[in-house]
């Protein structure tokens, strides 16, 4: 089952070891300005950030410092006002909506603070969602991949349940399985433990750390929790839209 997650060889490489690091995501001179009729808000100011393959990076900072904006930019959900974003060495600013969607589907997995599971779908159906948008993939393969991803997060026994029947921690595991299912280059997690108590938060953190160490998954995590941040390889700090460390 393990190897099912690694079927596309070009998207998965060996865990990065220090020196020979290859960048998965590179942000250069990123600026993001929100423009309304009267006021201009600078959400991000001259951000330069490179995420290498196999890294686990945490992003920290107080509320409103631009962390979430950064994460949506990294996830290609939003476009910067200026600067370039490169995914796997390719700049994406000229990409169409459909191309961006394709890129998100192939390269990026999201984990949200409030899980964002689709309540109307069972656990396994939820995990399948990213695979549905991969036109070449058959139904059987989708199902197998989803089950493999659920196995990875330790939820094989709950594939037929619905989100409302699960605890918060379990829901977040499903969300992580969903992020894993497509075999992405990078997982972007927006305060994945923010809605959980400390015990469950710890479990989720361990799961992410395990994925990073054992399977070499690249992870960027926004967090408030200093303890958690310290467990990751690198901490990037933001204040008022600017990178401070």
């Amino acid at each position: 089952m393990e190897n099912l997650l690694a079927t596309s060889p070009e998207t998965r490489s060996q865990p990065a070891a220090g020196l020979g690091a290859t960048p998965v995501l590179r942000l250069t001179n990123i600026e993001k300005v929100y423009q309304t009729k009267t006021i201009e808000t600078v959400a991000l100011n001259q951000v330069n950030l490179t995420i290498n393959r196999g890294e686990f990076v945490s992003v920290m900072g107080p509320s409103g410092c631009g962390k979430s904006t950064l994460l949506s930019l990294m996830g290609l959900l939003d476009e910067p006002t200026s600067g370039t974003i490169e995914v796997d060495g390719r700049a994406v600013q000229s990409y169409s909506d459909r191309e961006l969607a394709g890129l998100r589907n192939l390269k990026i997995g999201f984990v949200f603070q409030s899980y964002h599971l689709i309540n109307d779908l069972s656990v396994v159906d939820n995990v399948e969602v990213p695979l549905l948008y991969r036109k070449s993939m058959g139904g059987r393969e989708c199902r197998q991949r989803a089950l493999a991803a659920l196995d990875k997060v330790g939820l094989s026994a709950r594939t037929g349940h619905f989100p409302s029947q699960l605890s918060g921690g379990q829901r977040q595991r499903v969300a992580i399985a969903r992020a894993l299912a497509g075999g992405p280059e990078i997982i972007l997690a927006d305060e994945p433990t923010g809605n959980l108590d400390s015990v469950m938060g710890e479990e989720i953190m361990d799961l992410l750390l395990g994925l990073n160490r054992q399977d070499g998954v690249t992870i960027v995590m926004v967090t408030h929790d200093e303890q958690q941040a310290l467990k990751t390889q690198r901490v990037v700090r933001f204040f008022d839209g600017s990178q401070v460390g």
Binding site: L77, L106, F110, I118, L121, P130, L132, G182
Partner: protein
Amino acid sequence: MLLSYLKIAWKVLMRRKFFTFISLFGVSFTLMILLVVMAMFDHLVGPGTPAKRVDRMLFVNVIRHQMVGGHGWMNMPASIHFVDDYVRKLKTPEKVGITTTSSNATAFTKSKLLALDLTYTDGNFWQIMDFDFVSGRAFTGEEVKSAQRVCVLNETTARNYFGTPDVVGRTIEIDLKRYRVAGVVRNVSAAHVYAYADVWVPYTLSPQFYKDNRLSGEFLVVLLAPSAQAVPAVREEYRQMVKRVEIPNPKEVQAIFSYADPVLASFTRAILNHQDQTVDDDNIDTFYFMVGGLALLFMLLPALNLVNLNVTRILERSGEIGVRKAFGAAGPDLVGQFLVENLVLALVGGLLGLGLAAGALALVNEAHPVAYAHFALSWRVFGWGMVLTLVFGLMSGVYPAWKMSRLNPVAALRGSGEQK
């Protein structure tokens, strides 16, 4: 993928029962009304007893006489001379029959006046139309030729006059003239204008049975083509034949025009022709255009209603939309998904509408607004119903789907309905 959409669609339907009820009410009643109208239309022009082979039939209603010197037009049905010497000589039709529009006749029973609709026909008419005989038989070409006083009655007339439908060989007095009953047929709907009557008698008894060379009389011609494919050929031969017709009174009549049309075209040509009558246009395209426009107009308000509901409920789905976008759904994928959802809703509504239409038609039949008409759903009506369902589903789904697909994913994930 589709399966997943269908699953979601079903869940969404079941989640807010009240909204589902409102939506289904709108869809099903809209389609019910359209289906009822369509069933009536189908009854009018579709195949049905006795015009079972209507797809092979062509009808000639009038001969249009263009008067000399711009003195207008005279539109009259055909004379026997025209039928015998021109129409019956055509090579392509398998059979040529004649009938008339029904005229009022009276029969008296012991204390009651029976108002009857009486039609004159020839022997072929009975072979082109497939009447259901309760007893007896049609009158034959021979009986027509020798102008025998025979008649065919419908069941109701036989019952009203004699008290029983089993009356073959007995005598009925209509307009104080006596006829021998050759057969009794099941009642024919008055909506079948070419076949309906209470009493049928040989055309040779008609006061309009003139033997001179006039062209106008009172006879409607029914041509039976050997097959449905041969219909255009018959139509064309008729068209050519009309050009050769000799006008008996050229000092008054400049030219004549006449067409053999399939049943619907024969109505549309008569009803919708307002322009130059010399132009050969059966107006069937105009008819479909008008009918389609009216149907769309009628569906507009319920569709708008559904659009309104769907748009209002976009917020409910913002989380899902955000997730799908984040995981790689492009705009068109989402449009596709929500269209499928709306089509499922329309389909369920359409099936309900079909059931409601069956009920409504039963009520209409109970009230019988048209004599002896029995309106029913057919497979054709069902097929059209499904087409309409599809149109309705698209009409009411496209805008909300488009709107949903344009939700900003970042905002959607935060749970607000902000647009891109």
